[in-house]
C-alpha cells in the first residue's frame, strides 16, 4: 500500500493520509534531506520517508532540536530540506529555530509541525503552534486536507526558495490523519550532495550583525505579505452571493444583515459541511496563510459586512488579527469568535453547524440519541506481554507505593498513570521525570523512583541526569530500555538493536558520573526487587536499566 505513493503517474488519484501527502509533496518538490523525531500526529511523515528511503537522505534524529539543526546544516549546504515534528517538538527546537529565521535558508526548507487539539495523543498540553509566528516571524501555512497538504508543501518550498526563509506547515490531527483522494504530479529526483560555501555575514548571528538580520527578516515578511495577498490559497468563496439578507426584527423594522465567515485549516471543511447542511450561502474567506496574513484581502472581505464569524480551533489567533484589521476599515463590524466557538478541544462538524445556525439566525434541529446509560471508560493499557508489566510487579513488591513518589515520562509507560497500575505522581515533558525528581529530592527528604524510556533518555534525559549528579541529589532512576520508540510506532533510536553497535546506555550513565548502575532483565524479578530496595537507600543518584525489548521489537 505504502508503495502507491511512489507511483510516478501524473494525474492519477490515489488515497493518501495527510502525512503521506506531505511526503509526496516533498518528493514532487525534489526534497534532498529529511530529518525528524517521531511524535503523534506527525510520526507517519518520518515513517513513510524511512520506508521509501531513496533519492534523499533521511534520519530519525535524537530530538527535534537536533533534527532541526541537522536540517539547518543541510540548508546551509544548499539542500532542499524538510524537518517534521509534533507540536511539543517545536518547543524543543525553538532555540535553533529563531536564529534560523535570521540567517535564512540557502537550500529551501520546510518545517512541518503537527498540533493535536483535544490531546488525543498528547499528554502535556493542548498546544496551538500558530502562536510561534509572532515570536519567530516564520511564515505559516495551514492545509485542510491531504490534497492541500501536498500542494502547500510544494508552495512552501517555492516560498522558501524565493524569499530565502524557512516556511512552516501547521497541521492538526484531523488533517494529518485524514485520508482522501490526492491527485499526483511528477516526482522530482534530487541530488544529496551539497556544498557549504563560507559566508559568515549570512550564517553567523553575532551582534551587531544580528540586529541587521532582524531588520532583513522583517523586510522579507513584508514582501511575503504582498505575496500572500495575491496567493490563491487565500480564497474568498461565495462572495457573489453576498446579497444582503433580509430579516425581520421583533420591532417590525427591517435591517440588512450581511454575514461572512473567516477560517483556516480543517475548520474550513466543517464550515462547507455546515453550509450545505443548513442550505446557506455565506461568503467564506479561507486562509491558507496564517502568517503573514493577507491584510488587504481580509479588509476587502470584511469591509461591507455587518457580522463576521471566525471559526478556528484553540486560541483566538485569527480573531485577534481580524479585530485589529477591522479597526481601520469597518469599526462597526461585529466579530464573533470564541464567544460561540470553544477554545478548548478540537472542533467537530456539529459544533460548527450549530454555531453557524445561531450566527445566521437559522433554526436547526435534528434527531439525536439521548442515551442515558452510563458509558464506561476504557483507558488505554500496556499491551499484554509488555515488558513493563514486570517492572510494575517488581516495584509493587519492593516498596510501599504510598511512601514513594513516582516520576512519569512521555512514552507507553505514561500509562502507568492509569488504573490499575497507578504509579505516576507527576507527568510533564520529554526528559523531565529526572529533572523534576532532582528538584523534589532537593526540596524534600522523600523517596523517588523516576521512570524514563530509552528514547526519552537520549532525547532529553541525559542533561538532567548529569545535573542530578553534579548538584548531588539521590533519586532512583529506572531507565526502561525496550529498545525502540514504541508509542509512536516503533521507530529506531541510537540504542536500538537495529543500529549496529548501538550505544550502550550503561556506558553513558557511568560516564555521567553515576556510581550505582545496574542493568537487569526484569524477568529476573528477585534481582530486580532487591536492587530497587538497595538503590533507594543510596546517598547518590542510582540507575537501574530495565533491559527487555518491547514485544514488537522482539517479534522482528
Amino acid at each position: 500500500m505504502i508503495m502507491e505513493i511512489l507511483l510516478n503517474k501524473p494525474g492519477k488519484k490515489i488515497i493518501l493520509l495527510g502525512n503521506e501527502a506531505i511526503v509526496r509533496g516533498a518528493m514532487e518538490s525534489g526534497v534532498q534531506f529529511v530529518s525528524t523525531y517521531p511524535g503523534t500526529p506527525a510520526s507517519e511523515i518520518g515513517d513513510t520517508f524511512y520506508k521509501i528511503k531513496n533519492n534523499f537522505y533521511f534520519e530519525y534524529s535524537t530530538n527535534e532540536k537536533v533534527a532541526l539543526e541537522a536540517g539547518i546544516g543541510a540548508s546551509f549546504s544548499g539542500l532542499k530540506t524538510l524537518v517534521a515534528m509534533k507540536s511539543f517538538g517545536l518547543n524543543v527546537a525553538l532555540d535553533a529555530l529563531l536564529p534560523f529565521l535570521y540567517t535564512g535558508t540557502k537550500g529551501p526548507t520546510v518545517i512541518i509541525v503537527a498540533d493535536d487539539p483535544s490531546c488525543h495523543s498528547s499528554a502535556q498540553s493542548e498546544e496551538n503552534s500558530r502562536s510561534i509566528a509572532y515570536l519567530a516571524h516564520i511564515p505559516i501555512l495551514e492545509p485542510a486536507d491531504p490534497q492541500e497538504c501536498k500542494d502547500f508543501v510544494k508552495l512552501a518550498f517555492q516560498i522558501s526558495e524565493k524569499f530565502k526563509i524557512p516556511v512552516m506547515i501547521r497541521t492538526t490531527t484531523r488533517v494529518a490523519h485524514q485520508r482522501a483522494p490526492v491527485k499526483l504530479e511528477k516526482i522530482i529526483i534530487g541530488d544529496t550532495c551539497g556544498k557549504f560555501e563560507k559566508d559568515s555575514k549570512r550564517f553567523v548571528t553575532l551582534p551587531p550583525r544580528v540586529l541587521e538580520m532582524k531588520k532583513e527578516l522583517l523586510e522579507k515578511i513584508e514582501k511575503i505579505k504582498a505575496f500572500s495577498e495575491n496567493s490563491l490559497i487565500n480564497k474568498i468563496e461565495n462572495q457573489k452571493l453576498e446579497t444582503p439578507k433580509q430579516s425581520k426584527l421583533a420591532t417590525g423594522q427591517v435591517r440588512n444583515w450581511k454575514l461572512g465567515i473567516i477560517t483556516s485549516g480543517v475548520s474550513y471543511l466543517y464550515i462547507r459541511e455546515a453550509l450545505q447542511e443548513l442550505n446557506l450561502d455565506l461568503p467564506v474567506l479561507k486562509l491558507g496563510f496564517f502568517y503573514p496574513l493577507p491584510e488587504k484581502k481580509t479588509q476587502n472581505f470584511i469591509k461591507n459586512l455587518k457580522k463576521v464569524l471566525i471559526v478556528e480551533e484553540l486560541e483566538p489567533c485569527l480573531e485577534k488579527e481580524v479585530l485589529r484589521i477591522a479597526k481601520n476599515v469597518n469599526c462597526k463590524l461585529q466579530i464573533v469568535g470564541k464567544k460561540l466557538i470553544p477554545e478548548v478541544g478540537e472542533l467537530r462538524p456539529e459544533i460548527v453547524t450549530s454555531t453557524i445556525a445561531k450566527f445566521a439566525n437559522k433554526k436547526y434541529k435534528f434527531a439525536i440519541c439521548n442515551l442515558k446509560f452510563p458509558i464506561m471508560k476504557r483507558f488505554p493499557q500496556l499491551c499484554p506481554g509488555c515488558p513493563y508489566w514486570l517492572v510494575i510487579s517488581a516495584i509493587k513488591k519492593a516498596v510501599d507505593i504510598n511512601k514513594v513518589i513516582f516520576g512519569g515520562e512521555i512514552g507507553c509507560y505514561m500509562l502507568f498513570g492509569n488504573p490499575p497500575v497507578n504509579l505516576q505522581d507527576y507527568l510533564s515533558c520529554m526528559g523531565s521525570s529526572v529533572g523534576i525528581a532532582h528538584g523534589i529530592k532537593k526540596s524534600t527528604g522523600q523517596k523517588i523512583i523516576s521512570f524514563v524510556g530509552d528514547s526519552s533518555f537520549f532525547h532529553a534525559g541525559i542533561p538532567a541526569l548529569i545535573n542530578a549528579v553534579f548538584n548531588k541529589s539521590n533519586p532512583l532512576i529506572i531507565i526502561l530500555e525496550n529498545q525502540t520508540t514504541a508509542m509512536t510506532g516503533h521507530q529506531p533510536h541510537p540504542g536500538a538493536p537495529i543500529v549496529p553497535n548501538g550505544i550502550k546506555i550503561e556506558e553513558i550513565v557511568r560516564a555521567c558520573g553515576v556510581k550505582y548502575v545496574k542493568t537487569i532483565d526484569q524477568i529476573n524479578q528477585v534481582e530486580f526487587i532487591n536492587t530497587i530496595k538497595e538503590f533507594l537507600e543510596k546517598p547518590e543518584v542510582s540507575v537501574i536499566i530495565a533491559r527487555r525489548p518491547c514485544i514488537f521489537v522482539a517479534k522482528k
Binding site: 500500500m1 488519484k13 488515497i15 503523534t40 500526529p41 510520526s43 507517519e44 488525543h120 495523543s121 499528554a123 486536507d145 490531527t173 484531523r174 490523519h177 485524514q178 485520508r179 482522501a180 483522494p181 480543517v266 471543511l269 466543517y270 462547507r272 459541511e273 450545505q276 447542511e277 467537530r348 462538524p349 456539529e350 453547524t353 435534528f366 434527531a367 439525536i368 440519541c369 439521548n370 442515551l371 446509560f373 458509558i375 464506561m376 471508560k377 476504557r378 483507558f379 488505554p380 493499557q381 500496556l382 499491551c383 507507553c412 505514561m414 500509562l415 488504573p419 490499575p420 508509542m487 509512536t488 510506532g489
Partner: protein, 200 residues
C-alpha cells in the same frame, strides 16, 4: 455508474489492535474504485494501546468533513459490543448497527451485559443486527484476526453498505499484505455463505 449517493457515513468502533485502520482503508479504496469522493479520519499513538478506537469513513458525490456529524451515521460497525454504546452519539433512528457479539472486559470494571447494551440501544434505534463474528471466525478459520473483515464483508453482502462486494474484495487484495490475502479471502467467502444461509 448509476445514480451517485450524496453521502454515506460509517463509523467503525472497537478497541486498539482490532485492525480498524485496515478496515477504513479497505472501505476507502472500494469507494474510490466506484468513483466516489472520500474522506476519513482515524487516530494513532496513545489511543491505539487497547483504548477505545473509533474511525470515521464518509463517501459520496462530494464530501467535506472527515468526521461524521452527531446523529448522521448511516452504518455503525461495532467490533466490540460494549463500545457500541459510545457510538449512539452518531446514531439517528434510521442508523443501522451491525454488532460483533464480543465483550472485551475492562480492567477493574464489571462488563455490561449484551442484553443491557442492546436494550438501551433499541430504545432509540430500530435496525440492529448482532453476529457472533469472533465465534464464527474461530470455528471456521481457527483465528479471530479477520473478525473485522468478516463483519465488513457481511455488511456488503447484506447491502448495508452501498458498495459492491466485489469492490470490497478488490480493495482487500490491495490493502492487506499478500501473505494474509488468502485468509482474508476465506473470511470474505465465509461472510458470503453466512448471508446465503440466512436468506434460505
Amino acid at each position: 455508474m448509476s445514480k451517485k449517493l450524496d453521502q454515506f457515513n460509517i463509523i467503525i468502533i472497537g478497541t486498539g489492535g482490532q485492525g480498524l485502520i485496515t478496515l477504513l482503508q479497505i472501505v476507502a479504496e472500494a469507494a474510490l474504485s466506484e468513483g466516489y469522493d472520500i474522506r476519513t479520519s482515524e487516530l494513532h499513538g496513545l489511543s491505539q494501546r487497547g483504548g477505545s478506537v473509533e474511525v470515521h469513513i464518509r463517501f459520496g458525490k462530494k464530501i467535506y468533513s472527515p468526521l461524521v456529524s452527531q446523529g448522521k451515521a448511516d452504518l455503525i460497525l461495532g467490533l466490540e459490543t460494549q463500545e457500541c454504546l459510545k457510538t449512539a452519539y452518531f446514531a439517528n433512528p434510521k442508523t443501522i448497527f451491525l454488532i460483533n457479539k464480543h465483550i472485551i472486559p475492562i480492567p477493574l470494571q464489571k462488563s455490561i451485559s449484551e442484553e443491557k447494551i442492546l436494550g438501551n440501544l433499541k430504545k432509540f434505534i430500530k435496525n440492529i443486527s448482532v453476529v457472533s463474528a469472533n465465534e464464527i471466525c474461530q470455528k471456521e478459520l481457527g483465528t479471530t484476526v479477520t473478525t473485522g473483515i468478516y463483519l465488513l464483508s457481511l455488511a456488503s453482502f447484506k447491502n448495508l453498505i452501498p458498495l459492491k462486494p466485489n469492490s470490497i474484495l478488490k480493495a482487500i487484495k490491495k490493502i492487506v499484505p499478500e501473505k494474509y490475502f488468502e485468509l482474508n479471502k476465506k473470511t470474505f467467502e465465509l461472510a458470503k455463505n453466512y448471508e446465503k444461509g440466512q436468506k434460505k
